[in-house]
């Protein structure tokens, strides 16, 4: 297919400099290149732009259903928990999540506020998911795994895109994106606005938890969101060997929270202010080395408050004046500042290393959460490195180490050793052993969920933190096989894993608290659970991809968790022998499957389908025990080429099968349908 040529612009002449000039900048440098799968010390799944589009997903965590072993649940439309190998509450905090090298899990409770990130799914170029602890490379919090989200470079979006989306449940979105260059500066920005009315909740009693016979009806939740978002990414070429990137973003608006028929936790609108600024300096004087220095600041503030007028039946015995009310400020402010320096170097064709250091400052404030007015501050210093050595042409040895010193728990070392062996160019084996730590969150250490009466008396204390917590520790061993079958355009990735979780941080009931209106009332307190849990299992990912636009992906995870954890301090809280433990058995689902299909038809039609199924699982925190859930999402799209522009029209139906439950048994995910028009102008 050839197109009509038109008059060409003035261009550099075809002289000797064109062939011999050595001062050409390095474009595909060490940090831009993805590590090939067969050399990776951990199992990695890559989700690229074509898969993102074909899945019909509106939010980034929903893409994690394309990765074996992941569970994704929404506590509300705007609160998503995504975790690897279960063990997740509504803010799954055992995963490291990075956007362009910037950690986005919050300092307060360690989870990711996915819907408050200043990022739109259309900005994502690629997601690399590391399935397994990867502390040596990604630091504290890459406990169960790490999710590395890479956004589009400005040069990858030349032109303008405008989109509009409408669906049921009040689902609306408008989007404008633009990328361009001015001399040495390349830039792209995204402006978006979104709205959704949230889940429909059930109030009838759900299924009983294991070991119980009946359930109480839960209160219907207030849900919904609407917000604007903006993000910017720019790169300025300082010279042939150096560049400076500046990234920034903002996400605001409101999220509805609370529950109907609740007193303190009544329906309300949380006002969100979330923004970040990031500066990155790259220097690559040669193909064998690169230095990256970054400085970033993130700020997340959630303002929300309820006023509960105390009913007379309660007010009068307490001796309070008429009109007395309990004012609860649920607001929380989280801020992070970090500087990080990383150096990549190839010493020879057999030896490469990465080394770096960082210093981080986290601070959090929340009057209601911590019962104090000031900021709680944490410092974290890290030194890390990974050595990649080829002792023989077919083998790769990866040795990694992270040294972390935090103001919370002191110094910890997270090592990893992995060996990959290529049996033939297309078949390889891998074995790795690693240790990772999850530092206690500010929430786990300092939470003081106290509710005070207007005259200052303590009314109730719901949660109590513990400043003496040790970090959780995960020791992981896995062996894996990666096979490529180029004549069938297929790859198979299998691994067997064994993980041991120690010092699990949990909140146990019936810790005594004095000084309350009702003496003898107990509270929940965070503690390192004695004992340990073992997770063992198999994970499989099979992929057939004959062309960029056609793919069949099958993922399966089988996990078995053994062990118990402290749930209740029992009648004698100071006597450990009377403590009550609970079995962890159902906190990790036994089987998780997904099947993903995408296909391009002639005439610029695209089809996509994603089927996902998970066995019964107990979601922690406010979550419930849910039976097996499955879900099928379908997408159909057509691209029209116009003069210098492209219009994509798509129709997506999420969950076309029976309604299923997400996270709690009130959240009914029935079928959601939306249509989108996306216009791209070059």
């Amino acid at each position: 297919m050839t197109c009509q040529a038109s008059a060409e612009h003035e261009n550099p002449p075809l002289d000797e400099s064109y062939f011999l000039d050595e001062s050409v900048p390095i474009v595909l440098s060490a940090t831009r290149l993805a590590q090939p799968q067969y050399e990776s010390p951990a199992s990695v799944t890559i989700i690229d732009r074509d898969m993102i589009r074909a899945s019909g997903a509106l939010d980034i965590p929903d893409l994690l259903r394309l990765v074996p072993g992941f569970q994704v649940g929404r506590a509300r439309i705007h609160t998503i928990s995504a975790s690897y190998h279960g063990l997740a509450d509504e803010r799954a905090r055992r995963m490291q999540v990075l956007i362009d090298g910037r950690p986005v899990y919050g300092p307060a409770n360690g989870g990711v506020r996915w819907m408050e990130l200043p990022l739109d799914i259309s900005d994502v170029e690629r997601i690399e998911v590391i399935r397994g602890p990867n502390a040596a490379a990604y630091g504290a919090n890459s406990f169960l795994g790490a999710i590395n989200i890479i956004t589009q470079h400005p040069l990858e979006l030349p032109g303008t895109q405008a989109g509009i989306l409408a669906g049921n449940k009040g689902n609306r979105k408008a989007l404008l994106r633009h990328g361009g260059s001015r001399g040495r500066l390349d830039y792209r920005f995204t402006l978006a606005w979104r709205k959704d009315d949230g889940f429909e909740t059930r109030t009838d009693p759900g299924p009983p938890e294991p070991g119980k016979t009946n359930r109480e009806a839960r209160k219907p939740l207030a849900d919904g969101m609407r917000f604007p978002l903006f993000d910017l990414r720019t790169e300025y070429r300082l010279s042939n060997t150096a560049s400076l990137e500046f990234l920034a973003g903002y996400n605001g608006g409101v999220r509805r929270d609370g529950a109907f028929d609740e007193d303190i936790d009544s329906p309300r609108e949380d006002r969100i202010t979330s923004h970040f600024q990031q500066l990155v300096y790259h220097h690559s004087p040669g193909a064998d080395r690169e230095t990256r220095f970054q400085l970033y600041h993130t700020y997340m503030r959630n303002s929300s408050m309820t006023i509960y007028p105390i009913p007379d039946a309660l007010r009068i015995p307490l001796g309070l004046a008429p009109g007395a009310a309990i004012v609860t400020d649920f607001g929380i402010t989280e801020q992070r500042l970090e500087a990080e320096l990383v150096h990549h170097r190839s010493l020879s064709s057999d030896l490469r290393f990465v080394a770096g250091a960082s210093a981080r400052l986290d601070r959090v404030r929340g009057r209601n959460w911590f019962s104090r007015e000031d900021f709680i501050v944490n410092h974290l210093y890290r030194l890390f490195g990974n050595l990649e050595y080829h002792p023989m042409p077919r083998g790769v040895l990866n040795l990694g180490l992270m040294v972390e010193k935090s103001s919370q728990v002191g110094t910890r070392l997270s090592p990893r050793i992995a060996y990959n062996h290529q049996l033939t160019p297309n078949h390889g084996l891998r074995a790795s052993l690693s240790r990772a730590y999850r530092l206690p969150t500010i929430y786990e250490e300092h939470i003081d969920g106290s509710v005070y009466l207007p005259d200052g008396r303590l009314f109730n204390r719901v949660y109590l933190g513990n400043e003496n917590l040790d970090p959780e520790s995960l020791t992981s061993f896995e062996i894996g096989y990666l096979g490529r079958f180029p004549e069938f355009y297929s790859t198979i990735d299998i691994k067997l894993f064994l993980e041991r979780l120690e010092n699990r941080i949990t909140s146990a009931k019936n810790w005594p608290e004095t000084g309350e209106i009702h003496p003898g009332q107990r509270t929940l307190r965070f503690i390192n659970s004695p004992g340990d849990s073992f997770i063992r299992g198999i994970e499989l990912s099979c992929r057939w991809r004959p062309t960029k636009d056609d793919m069949l992906l099958f993922n399966w995870n089988y996990s078995d968790i053994d062990g118990n954890y402290l749930k209740d301090f029992g009648p004698s809280p100071y006597t450990p022998s009377s403590w009550l433990f609970r079995d962890v058995d159902n906190q990790v689902p036994r089987h998780t499957y997904s099947l993903f299909f995408m296909h391009r038809l002639p005439g610029n039609w695209e089809l996509g389908a994603l089927y996902y199924r998970t066995d019964s699982m107990k979601w922690l925190g406010d979550g419930d025990y849910l039976g097996p859930q499955d879900r099928l999402d379908l997408r159909i799209a057509r691209t029209f080429r116009l003069n210098g522009a492209e219009l994509e029209a798509s129709l997506v139906a999420q969950n076309v099968l029976d309604e299923y439950l997400e996270f709690r048994d009130e959240n009914v995910f029935d079928t959601r349908v939306y249509g989108q028009l996306l216009l791209s102008l070059y």
């Binding site: 050839t2 197109c3 075809l14 062939f19 011999l20 390095i26 474009v27 070059y682």
Partner: protein, 320 residues
Amino acid sequence: MKHKRQVPLWAALIILLWVLPGPEFPLADATENSLVILHSGSSAATHFSQTLTGALHRQFPDMQIRNTSQVTPSVPMHGVRALLLVGSGALETYRKSPALQQIPALALLVTRQRFEALWHRLPSDTRSRLTAIYIDQPPTRQFLLAVHAFPERRRLGVLLSRNTRPTLPLLKKLAVRTRRTLVAYETVGHDRLIASMEDLFENTDVYLALPDPNVINRNTLQPILLTSYRYRIPVVAFSRAYVKAGATAAIYTPLDGLTEETLEILPGLLGERSGPLPRPHYSSRFRVALNRQVARSLGIPLPTEKALEDAIRVWEENNR
């Protein structure tokens, strides 16, 4: 060099001899048995000229060699036995000077396209005194590099413009001979370059980046490499610098080989050997450059540079 003070003649001669091999020396002072290297002033041409000067001194110790980037066109060339034109700027100077065109000349560091544009306008007697070794490699070799480096990738893509459209019949024939599919798109203009690239990348397995400033140059290199990487397509280019930047492979003319070839042709140019000058031609030497980091990241196993060079040479031998 004019002296502004009165000095004895013998001192002036000594000073003159001292400064003889330096640059910016006017040809008016040329003596018998000299050779002039006229270069275009670019950094590549300047460096190569210096290397060439050193090699020539060793090979022809009795010859006087002048290395300059300037010449006044009307000056008569006494005793200059041969002229080496290094770079397209030097070729341009040659074109404008009938005096220079009387001297046997060898053009170096010029592309075939540039040289042929001049060649066709010269009278036949001048042509009998002029030859060239092109700096670019024939498109055949670049195509063969793509074929031998990526044997599993069957579709080879090119993006043509006015400069490279004439190579299309040759590429088509090569595709047939090597049992590959050629996917040829044409650019619609500078603004749509990346869009045309993306269309091409959707339908090809290897991108053959032919030397064409309309398509690939210092400004477009970054988006082209980023886009090709996103599509997981290796790029086969024409210079070592592009491989360093991120192209997976390239075929180029090594300058040390060019120096050797110049020394081989020179006796003929100087009239020390009978027979006509060789016709303007591509260098017989070529080298392959590979970017193993990019290849590894794309999951492509690469043989050694030497294995690829040998494979290309063998194919050329068998398919004359």
